[in-house]
Amino acid sequence: MKSAAEALKGFKKFNPKKLPVEEPLTPGHRACQGCGEVLALRQVMKALGHDTIVASATGCMEIITSSYPHSAWKVPWLHVAFENAAAVASGIEVGYKALMRKGKIPEKKVTFVGMGGDGATADIGMQALSGALERGHNFIYLCFDNEAYMNTGIQRSSSTPYGASTTTSPAGKKSIGQSTWKKNMAAIAVAHGTPYVATCNPYYYLDLMNKAKKASLVEGPAYLHIYSPCPTGWRCNPEEALTTARLAVQTKIFPLYEVIDGKYVMSRKISKPKPVSEYFAIQRRFRHLGEADIAYIQKRIDEEYNHLLLLAGETPGGEGEAKEE
């Protein structure tokens, strides 16, 4: 088996002037106004193209794209349940592998995708995902992280950021909102020895599309953790979804990086970060936070970012080679 680095040698990036015109995920679905998640999904599907088969978890992307008799999907698509998209994707991949080897269907390069939200990935679907990553299936897992159970009405998940008010972690006299720190799913994927792991964000759409394409080129599993702004759940204006997405990177709250064969590479090094308060200011899920809370979060975000830079072999605070915003 080729290493991810070998598989990605000579990788050709997407040219912004010649993006694929095909839309495996078509318009006309039922997403909310300003949904950053479906935007990211559309970009991923453009990058992956039509020779792709998708296994979707239950969640926003499933219900908005597949309300019978309508479907937004122009590729084979299968939804089974909430917690098993990775296991279903592994079955599809293995089914195709067996049928191709036995000469029952022609040999062809097919991209197999399992996808789910942060709840379907970091909470209820964690075991199925861990199993599929460990078994080394040749598939991509996409986690669309909108930082809570949005489909059921904005309940907290283990991916909800510290301090965010949700319907099951409400801010109150005795509650700061979410009282736990966000689970680091990318690190968990890396710990499985996953050949290609990356974080992405729909504001940086070329970076997102390139990472999706790379994920399809590596042999074995790939994991993409995709920041997915949700104006409905985050209580921000629909037109500000991408502003939020951009600020998440500029404030170092959601850093963009790749982990290729276990080696961290920063996609974008932020040497002149904006304060996290700018990010919080446009989302009403954070409006109850006081100065001390924000200072605590700022400190921890800085520490985590510096730790990430160390993993990537870069100097905290200094000017790195990676491009700055």
Binding site: H50, D51, I53, A55, E62, I63, S66, S67, Y68, P69, S71, W73, K74, V75, P76, W77, L78, H79, V80, A81, E83, N84, A87, V88, A89, S90, G91, I92, E93, V94, G95, Y96, K97, A98, L99, R101, K102, K104, I105, K108, V110, Q127, A128, S130, G131, A132, E134, R135
Partner: protein, 392 residues
């Protein structure tokens, strides 16, 4: 030609899956199913079976991966029981709704708690309403034959439903029996290659598992119900064809010495052979006792069952499972009473809860059941249940 050999029943079931030339097996170990999946892993590892074995991390993922593989167009097999079934049950319901012809061997085991690895029909009953076709084996030969037949039934385009082959844990799964193993040529003559009707085809992309809004949900479930009902003639056809080719005849409901019988023991699974010994002795003593055994449990063969019990005065229905209804009736007896309800002439029914978690059911126990139902009927007791072999 087929060969009659001494073989452990679990291994015979694995050989049946091999002869069916399955493409994908996805399974997780649980006692007493383990020998089935261990042997299949060996067959794949040694190159005797060209298939992919997915060693999943749970039964939930076993059934999920089976759905993925089956939706990709692969002939798919798995095996589980009891707690494994309980964990995967959410996905079992969806497999049936997606109309995927997955075949599963279930080495029947009691449900926790208390935890017990021994045999009863708690798991069989748990899957009762899941939409799967359920076949129940009496012996090793049947377990082997039913496994091969299951693929033909499941994959028939008039059916397209998953099938469970029930075989009693330990009492069948772990015993060595003389079993006629069909040859590859024979199986190929009986079982056509799997041709999926709908699959995850890149050339003709389909959306599977779409949201069923209130305007379509009821229609979707009605269509599924019709499919299950419509499966019975196909099952019978598959069994008739099997009899024509290999001589072993299978029917949805089997009868034993029921001619002129006043009392019938109603059974499922391997204890039926113990019941036969009891009936032989009772018949020799001049008693009019016979056996009705249900082989096709889902869809329930109502007409065949009514024909089999016609003329009987009383039924002793044995349940190897509980339904916790708060009423004195096990799940099989409840169902049989429902089947009999609109009959003008119906037998008296007494329920016997027996053989939970591997507790032995002896020949004498079956004689006691016949005695019990006859006495209760004579005394015109309100219909009820007796727990056999229970310490009170």
């Amino acid at each position: 030609m087929g060969k009659r050999i001494g073989i452990e029943v679990s291994l015979a079931v694995s050989e049946a899956a091999k002869l069916a030339n399955v493409d994908v097996i996805s399974a997780y170990p649980i006692t007493p199913q383990t020998h089935i999946v261990e042997h299949l892993s060996e067959l794949v590892a040694d190159g005797h079976l060209d298939a992919e074995f997915i060693p999943v991390e749970s039964e939930h993922s076993a059934m999920s991966a089976c759905i993925g593989a089956s939706a990709a167009g692969a002939r798919t097999f798995t095996s589980t029981c009891a707690q494994g079934l309980a964990l995967m049950l959410e996905i079992c319901y969806i497999a049936a709704a997606l109309r995927l012809p997955i075949v599963m061997a279930m080495a029947n085991r009691s449900l926790s708690g208390p935890i017990s690895i021994w045999n009863d029909h708690g798991d069989l009953m748990m899957a009762r309403d899941s939409g799967w076709i359920q076949l129940v084996a009496e012996n090793g030969q049947e377990a082997f034959d039913l496994t091969i037949q299951a693929f033909r039934i499941a994959e028939d385009h008039r059916v397209l439903l998953p099938v469970i082959v029930n075989l009693d844990g330990f009492t069948l799964s772990h015993v060595i029996e003389p079993i006629e193993i069909l040859s590859q040529e024979e199986v190929d003559k009986y079982l056509p290659p799997y041709k999926p009707k709908m699959w995850l085809d890149l050339k003709n992309p389909i959306t599977m598992g779409a949201v069923g809004i209130p305007e379509v949900y009821t229609e979707a479930k009605k269509a599924q119900d019709e499919a299950l009902k419509g499966a019975k003639p196909v099952v019978i056809e598959a069994w008739n064809e099997f009899a024509k080719l290999f001589g072993r005849k299978y029917q949805p409901v089997e009868t034993y010495k029921t001619e002129g019988a006043d009392t019938l023991l109603v059974t499922m699974g391997s204890t039926t052979e113990t019941a036969m010994t009891a009936v032989d002795a009772m018949r020799a003593a001049g008693r009019k006792v016979g056996i009705v055994r249900i082989r096709l449990y889902r869809p329930f063969p109502k007409e065949e069952f009514l024909a089999a019990v016609k003329g009987a005065k009383q039924l002793a229905v044995m349940d190897r499972a509980l339904a916790f209804s708060g009423m004195e009736t096990g799940p099989l007896a409840t169902e049989i009473k429902a089947v009999l309800y609109d009959q003008a002439q119906k037998p008296y029914v007494w329920n016997f809860i027996a053989g939970l978690a591997g507790r032995d059911i002896s020949v004498e126990n079956f004689t006691e059941m016949a005695d019990g139902v006859e006495a209760a009927a004579a005394d015109k007791l309100p219909q009820g249940a007796t727990w056999t072999n229970v310490r009170e």
